[in-house]
């Protein structure tokens, strides 16, 4: 049974990330202790998937396709799917909200898995139980695909008020939902001044997203004839990936609107006075889209499956086998999507979809008692860099595995020359993957 100490530990981590409920921990502990089974024990093999994003949805569908006799339960706290990919063109009204939103019931019904709209509050790996707000579920295999969480404590320490003010007033909009809606409202209501986009340091979800977002925000300003600038504060030395493509868009399509500032690591943020101090200077702003460092989603911390560095400190990302995505500490748990660490894979929707298919095959093979040699995932990422006319650039990355060195090497191919054809391909890319997950 989960201990009060365990709960305190997991809730303590959550408090830092500002994403765990503020309910008293003791009450939560008592509630979990008293919890009964939400579902009867599995009759055959049961796989519980926590997280209904691009990776989790793909694992659910493809597990059922691999073996319809596997009982698959997908737990997701949001009732409706809201896509992060293509949300930047949506910010500039290039697509409607219906393009991004999908229902969870269609694939669950079609492929025969259980969709549970619930929140996971604890994981007991030794007993193979996942606790939701309504009870526990026994599993044979557990897949954790919760995506990311924000790490405001890296900037604000224990000052939760500063973190709260920053998040509420200048939402990162990397976790779909209210933050995206708020960001869109802010962009469209913006009248004049400097709008700052902060690129998160370290590994973060969707590496080209901040630069595409800058283009789309600038597109709205251009269309609305706003006297404003979009200032991109980037801790990196240069734009990456697709640097030449983004730089050309900044200089040719949005000249005088977008200002790119490299080597701008955040030193201090004052969300009240609206000042950001960086290693490249201080910036006063009218409005902003401020993204703190990202980490693996809450459930990986809750399950105690975060990797540690040489000094024993948490890296912030999951500790999994690079080929099978199996947790190094637990053969019954698989970690997939944006949470993974120690591999050169970008945290992207396409990558989550690609990894999801591999994980489904690995688990289905284990259940069948067969060996399966996993293939490597791939990634294709289109970025919209102009809204009128709509033009995009693209990067595709495949990977090679060196068995001897146990090393995965990326092989990128990029088109940095923007075109309308690639803009059309952007939407086809998205439609095809939405179709893959939902139809």
């Amino acid at each position: 049974m989960i201990t009060r100490r365990d709960l305190l530990k997991s809730a303590g981590v959550g408090a830092i990330a500002l994403s765990v409920s503020s309910q008293p921990v003791f009450a939560a502990a008592e509630r979990v202790v008293k919890m009964e089974a939400l579902m009867p024990p599995p009759k055959g093999n049961r796989v519980v998937i926590c997280g209904g994003g691009w990776a989790g949805l793909t694992v659910a569908k493809y597990l059922k396709k691999e073996n319809p006799n596997i009982e698959v339960i997908l737990i997701e706290q949001k009732p409706v799917f809201f896509s992060c990919p293509i949300s930047n063109p949506w910010l500039a009204d290039l697509v409607g909200l219906d393009f991004l939103q999908h229902d969870y019931l269609q694939p669950a019904s079609k492929y025969g898995y259980t969709f549970m709209n619930d929140r996971v509050i604890a994981i007991e790996r030794d007993k193979r139980r996942v606790y939701t707000t309504r009870g526990y579920i026994q599993y044979d295999y557990l897949v954790l695909a919760p995506g990311i969480r924000y790490n405001y404590s890296a900037w604000f320490g224990d000052n939760r008020e500063l973190a709260r003010l920053t998040k509420v007033n200048f939402p990162p909009a990397y976790i779909p939902g209210s933050e995206h809606l708020a960001l869109k409202r802010k962009i469209h209501e913006f009248e004049e001044g400097d709008f700052i986009i902060v690129v998160p340091p370290g590994a973060y979800r969707c590496p080209p997203a901040p630069y595409e977002r800058a283009c789309m925000v600038a597109e709205v300003f251009k269309r609305n004839k706003v006297k404003g600038r979009v200032i991109v504060l980037d801790p990196k030395e240069d734009i990456a990936p697709k640097g030449p493509g983004f730089r050309a868009a900044f200089e040719q399509v949005y000249l005088g609107i977008i200002e790119y500032v490299p080597k701008a690591s955040i030193k201090e943020i004052d969300p009240v006075k609206k000042v950001i101090k960086t290693t490249a200077g201080d910036f006063k702003f009218t409005d902003a889209n401020i993204s703190p460092p990202h980490q693996a989603g809450e459930l990986v911390w809750m399950a105690d499956l975060i990797a540690k560095d040489k000094e024993g400190k948490p890296t912030g990302w999951a500790d999994q086998d690079p080929l099978t995505f199996q947790a190094k500490a637990d053969p019954h748990v698989f970690l997939v999507g944006d949470v993974i660490g120690g591999v050169p894979y970008p945290k992207s929707g396409h990558m989550g979809n690609s990894q999801g298919k591999i994980v489904a095959k690995v688990i289905a093979s284990r259940i069948a008692g067969k060996e399966y040699k996993p293939t490597l995932p791939d990634n294709t990422c289109y970025s919209m860099v102009n809204g009128s006319p709509q033009e995009a650039i693209v990067i595709n990355v495949t990977y090679e595995y060196n068995e001897k060195e146990k090393k995965i090497t990326p092989k990128p191919k990029t088109i940095n020359e923007r075109s309308e054809a690639l803009a059309k391909a952007t939407y086809e890319w998205a439609r095809a993957i939405y179709r893959d997950m939902f139809s």
Binding site: N396, A421, A425, W429, A432
Partner: protein, 239 residues
């Protein structure tokens, strides 16, 4: 072979009985793994309705026709050189024999134009999956003489039965089995793993809009109009 398989195979044999002996035995062998599916024998015609002749199929031009269903697009290519038969291997370890090119130079091949990865296909508005002739390499993958889908960069080899060269596709493009008779070309069946069920499942709304009903989109054809792809598609998207 049980009674059911025998009856199924006999049905196929009846449809393909006009094929040459080699193909006949090949198809029969493949039927065992369900890799060949015979459909209505359909004459390939030009837009004016007259039978398509070998000289009408210019080298490295991307032609489109619809087979075996009204709504399932296929590509016809003259690859300009003799294309020998090949053993097509699948990732699950299965394989099937592909007959190579047809025509006097054995240079003409045909494939389903539905991407075997996530079913992108040429519509009257766009085609994201296209043939890249030897002198027109893909900008992204730098490869030429291939069929490439721009949705997720699945690459197929038209010289090798539509095998996967690179990218995320798990299966080769299904190949359309062509038969030449008296200077005319007929499509007689589909070889490999077709994607028709997924295609009809996923594009229900779009196909209803284009064809009026799912039943009409699924109708089997007995004549295929062949045209250059850019006469059918408004925007051929290359990447």
């Amino acid at each position: 072979m049980d009674r059911r398989d025998f009856i199924k195979t006999c049905g196929t044999v009846a449809v393909v009985s006009m094929l040459n002996r080699d193909f006949f035995s090949q198809a029969l062998a493949q039927q065992k793994d369900g890799m060949f599916q015979a459909y209505k024998k359909a004459l390939l015609v030009k837009q004016d309705g007259s039978p398509l002749k070998e000289e009408d199929i210019k080298p490295h031009v991307n032609y489109i026709f619809f087979y075996p269903h009204t709504a399932t697009p296929c590509y016809l290519l003259n690859l300009g050189e003799s294309i020998p038969p090949a053993e097509i291997k699948l990732k699950d370890g299965k394989s099937y024999k592909w007959g190579g090119g047809v025509g006097s130079k054995k240079s003409i091949v045909a494939y389903s134009a539905i991407c075997a990865h996530q079913w992108s296909y040429p519509t009257p508005q766009y085609s994201f999956i296209n043939y890249y002739p030897p002198d027109t390499p893909s900008e992204t993958t730098k490869k030429a003489g291939i069929i490439q889908c721009c949705a997720h960069l699945a690459l197929y080899d038209p010289k090798a039965g539509g095998s996967v060269i690179d990218g995320p596709a798990e299966f080769p493009l299904a190949s359309i089995v062509l038969q030449e008779e008296g200077g005319n070309f007929y499509a007689v069946g589909v070889l490999g793993k077709d994607q028709f069920q997924q295609f009809f499942d996923n594009y229900r709304t779009e196909l209803r809009q284009q064809y009026g009903s799912t039943a009409k989109a699924r109708e089997l054809v007995d004549k295929c109009i062949v045209m250059e792809v850019d006469k059918y598609v408004q925007a051929v998207v290359r990447c």
